[in-house]
Symmetry: C2
Subunit: 323 residues, 2 copies
Amino acid sequence: MNDTIRSIATIMSDLDGILIYPHISMDGDALGSSAALCLALRSLGKKAYIMVNEPVPKNLDFLENGCTTTDDSVLEDVQLSLMLDCNGLNRIPGREAAWERGRLKGCIDHHATTSKDIRFDFQRIEPKSAATAEIIYRLIKDLGAEITLDIANCIFTAITTDTGNFQHVNTTSRSHEIVGHLYKVEGFNSKIISAMIYDRRSKGALKLEGYVLSKLHFYADGRLAVGQVSQAMLDEYGCTIDETDGIIQRIMSIDGVEGGCLLKEKGDTTRISLRGRSYINMSNVAAKFGGGGHVLASGCTINADLDTAEKTILPVLISELKH
Amino acid sequence: MNDTIRSIATIMSDLDGILIYPHISMDGDALGSSAALCLALRSLGKKAYIMVNEPVPKNLDFLENGCTTTDDSVLEDVQLSLMLDCNGLNRIPGREAAWERGRLKGCIDHHATTSKDIRFDFQRIEPKSAATAEIIYRLIKDLGAEITLDIANCIFTAITTDTGNFQHVNTTSRSHEIVGHLYKVEGFNSKIISAMIYDRRSKGALKLEGYVLSKLHFYADGRLAVGQVSQAMLDEYGCTIDETDGIIQRIMSIDGVEGGCLLKEKGDTTRISLRGRSYINMSNVAAKFGGGGHVLASGCTINADLDTAEKTILPVLISELKH
């Protein structure tokens, strides 16, 4: 079912006019993979764009490299629609009509769950690759394009963000092998890129994070930690709700915490991020409230204020701890 | 002046009774390198210990592996005193007498500054290696010992901590190459080790960090960020001053901050940690108050309370910003 990278390179070598589709809420791997491939295709004289319908996240702006477009008419003839870091129409909402324009449709991804809502002319899904960029790196080599500094920066960002800076369990020998090669590219400097990704937080976002952490609630002998972000806090520190994304990871750095829960006020509802360390099943907890996700990382929404939402989810969390 | 790793392996192959000396205030590389080599020497049937006179840091306890001793008389005949991750007697205070017992004296390090207060029978200093463990990994191979899971965990910890999880500018292609090999060791799991190193912070330490961040002061159009840790805060959150070590790194993640300063009350004095992002010279700032360190990371002590110390150092920081 999986095509080889070499066969995909052979197909793509004959094509021109390529639109690349990263998943919605693009992250370092989705955008980094897409931009690396787009730059490589352009270096081979091909017309290529990344088709998006949302702004590039601020901390990833350096990956853009003039590759994105919100208007698929930049290409008269779309010979290939290529989905990267996702594999279903549900992951490119609002871009379905543009997607259909591709004469050929392809997919390169590392997510194990496949949606099967598209018939691809070729696809390669490698669940054991830590990042889609690991596949793209090899594809670029097989296409015969050079790994330029801009491409190296894209690949590095994709791999380092998807592996949690080479700490997550998805990291492999090959992740390190590929990144090791990037250091051989003239001018490559991991520190500069890392500072772009991680060290451009707003003053308010860091102060808010600090405030939330200083007020954490603990339950079940410290095995559960719960934080709250109210609209009033967002207003006081001048932050958007998106800027609270990193707080849940900080909560999980506490000794003995098996489950972390961050409650975020959003209008009349409370958005909830859930993280587990090892044995708690957060997917079950989220499902109880109509949410979803992975066993160790999930989310849901409760139609109530922060304190009510905390009281509502707490017994479910405690019960799941005991399983 | 540098001996080859192969020649050091040849010398050590003929020796038994080896005491290894990591530097004072041992970190992941000092202890990780020492324990990796100690375990490898023991696997070859040799008597070897790590000589220390301070407790192993709590987050690095899993590196100890029964290797440390505070009593050099565990070895009747010390055929080799070997300094790791440092190269001067000033870096092993309180252990000088034991050190002198070694019939041979050796040194393996990656710090560029050499103290020259010892004549070593052999030494290897590789300033371009991100961690001393990168040298130790190759030495273990040349000694003909196997990279066991325990040794792999020591090497990984040393490299990942000394490179800031592969983000710092000292990271090289070889850092990634060596860590890539560790993944081939049966049972190796970076996530488990990473959680041991980073995810065992006390509740109080994280709450205190949060509180300090929520109260940061900014100066010079946000290019300077200053935090304060009082004894009262330490008492309230039940923390020791050592548990505040990570706060300065968090401060440096703020967009536009060129200089970070953390003031810590210690009795009647204020201990100060200084960090720079790119152009400020924090070594100069620290030197003005009798302290020292590197250009982008230094420290000093001012004999005054927190607010007075902040008022005292601020003009020096601002002046250094303008250079």
